[in-house]
């Protein structure tokens, strides 16, 4: 997976329903006590809306994130790498299932969510709008994109919504293998023949900008983070997660002789904050709004798959069955 802060925040509607003040106070007191919110609890309309948006986009990211890696299964170097990649891709699709289920408990159907993905109405992690050109790209994704995702998911698993936390706990367990197999492949290339090392360096150079985009725009330009953090929908700011990611992974990149293509990247020991060049937030906005190298291909693949699986799904539909909101 891949979820969280990188995702665009929806503009708040002017006509946001006024929530019952007493219920709101009880709801917030429950969150302050560290208790979880469960599906049929009363919740502010905006809490529900923001959670659906966040969990749904996290789910879409798992589905779309499997595409650049899935492409490489047939070409992964060696049988063991192929097996590991198949297992990882299957895990990611499993993550999507878990997350769609969690979002469904809030009242949006899986069909509706997938339709919003297909029309481009709802977003997914921006990094998957970039191509995986070589095996080294898959290695960078498996190590560093999954690492970024883990920072985000571990934080969110301490959030306030029960079903999302339960899904994330399970996801985090599986992610530990994703990270380790990615790190292993990364080290193999970095310490291998010159051609391998150069291929990895080239891939990291291309991926560094999307990696810096991964946790989302800087706090000073993202909206209503404060309320989402009060409600424990968001557990850390975009900047904090990015900083934590850099703390943990920059040393792991440098220690095996790979360089980072940003001369201004350094940790300010006084503040504990990493400093870096502007990673081009205009490009981020452009790509997330549809104008990236792979946006069209990603959605076209999903369209193709949905179109060609439709006859099976509809043949098995039972019109007498009663659909209810699940308990997941």
């Amino acid at each position: 997976m891949y979820g969280g802060g990188y995702i665009q925040e929806e503009k708040q509607e002017a006509t946001s329903p006024i929530d019952d003040a007493q219920k709101l106070a009880a709801f917030e007191a429950r969150i302050d006590r560290g208790e979880k919110i469960e599906p049929h609890d009363w919740m502010p309309a905006d809490y529900r809306k923001q959670l659906i948006r966040m969990i749904e986009q996290h789910a879409h990211s798992e589905v779309i994130g499997a595409l650049p890696e899935g492409t490489w299964i047939t070409r992964a170097p060696g049988f063991r790498r192929k097996l590991a990649l198949i297992a990882k891709v299957q895990d990611e699709i499993g993550h999507a299932h878990l997350l769609y289920s969690a979002a469904e408990t809030l009242g949006k159907s899986r069909e509706h969510m997938i339709n919003d993905l297909l029309t481009g109405k709802s977003k997914y992690s921006n990094v998957f709008n970039y191509p995986a050109k070589t095996w080294a790209d898959v290695t960078v994704i498996g190590f560093l994109i999954d690492a970024g995702a883990i920072v985000n998911q571990v934080a969110n698993s301490k959030g306030s919504y029960g079903p999302y936390c339960r899904a994330l706990e399970r996801i985090c367990y599986e992610e530990s293998f994703h990270l380790k197999q990615g790190h292993d492949a990364f080290i193999t290339l970095a310490t291998g023949k010159k051609a391998q090392h150069d291929m990895l360096q080239d891939a990291l150079n291309r991926w560094w900008k999307p990696i810096m985009h991964f946790h989302g725009p800087p706090d000073k330009i993202s909206e209503h983070t404060a309320k989402l953090m009060r409600w424990k929908v968001k557990m850390a700011t975009n900047d904090d997660m990015r900083n934590q990611f850099l703390d943990m992974y920059v040393p792991k990149i440098l220690e095996i002789g790979i360089t980072i293509p940003d001369p201004n990247l350094k940790k300010n020991e006084a503040t504990g904050q990493w400093e870096f060049s502007d990673p081009d937030w205009d490009e981020f906005k452009r790509v997330i709004n549809g104008d990236g190298p792979c946006n069209a291909e990603r959605l076209a693949v999903r369209q193709y798959v949905e179109e060609h699986g439709k006859w099976v799904r509809t043949a098995m539909m039972n019109p007498n069955q009663k659909v209810v909101i699940p308990f997941a």
Partner: protein, 132 residues
């Protein structure tokens, strides 16, 4: 949505063989096309309880079990799974959560082992014996 041309050469060797552009922007999933949901209960080892772990979508119980195996019996130890339709689950409302408060209420100490102070009584008895 109008047809959007793919703006990079497609890299996926499988996808190169299909005409992606012809389906682009035309598909949507019908209502209930993903069927109903089933609650899944997972038994880690013989002797353990079956524990609720999540849901799957499936048109019938056989497929629900198959999907549950893929989703919940793939990575963790498992000897058995149950599925049941979400619509067949009945539950209390969290609004009535306080009806369970007295399960752990302090005034119910008379039914806890810790509610009985036998050592105090024994020690008092022993002490009185020593004095005598």
């Amino acid at each position: 949505m109008s047809k959007i041309p793919l703006n990079t050469p497609v890299l996926d060797p499988r996808i190169k063989r299909v005409d992606l552009e012809s389906t682009y922007g035309t598909t949507s999933i019908g209502e209930n096309e993903h069927w109903i949901s089933w609650e899944v209960f997972h038994q880690k080892k013989r002797g353990d309880q079956h524990v609720h772990v999540g849901i799957v979508h499936a048109p019938d119980a056989q497929l629900a079990l198959l999907f549950a195996k893929e989703q919940f019996g793939r990575r963790l130890a498992c000897v058995n799974l149950w599925v049941t339709k979400s619509s067949d689950i009945f539950s209390f409302s969290y609004d009535d959560e306080d009806i369970f408060d007295n399960a752990t209420a302090p005034e119910k100490q008379y039914r806890e082992a810790s509610g009985f102070r036998v050592m105090e009584k024994i020690n008092r008895y022993k002490k009185s014996k020593q004095k005598a």
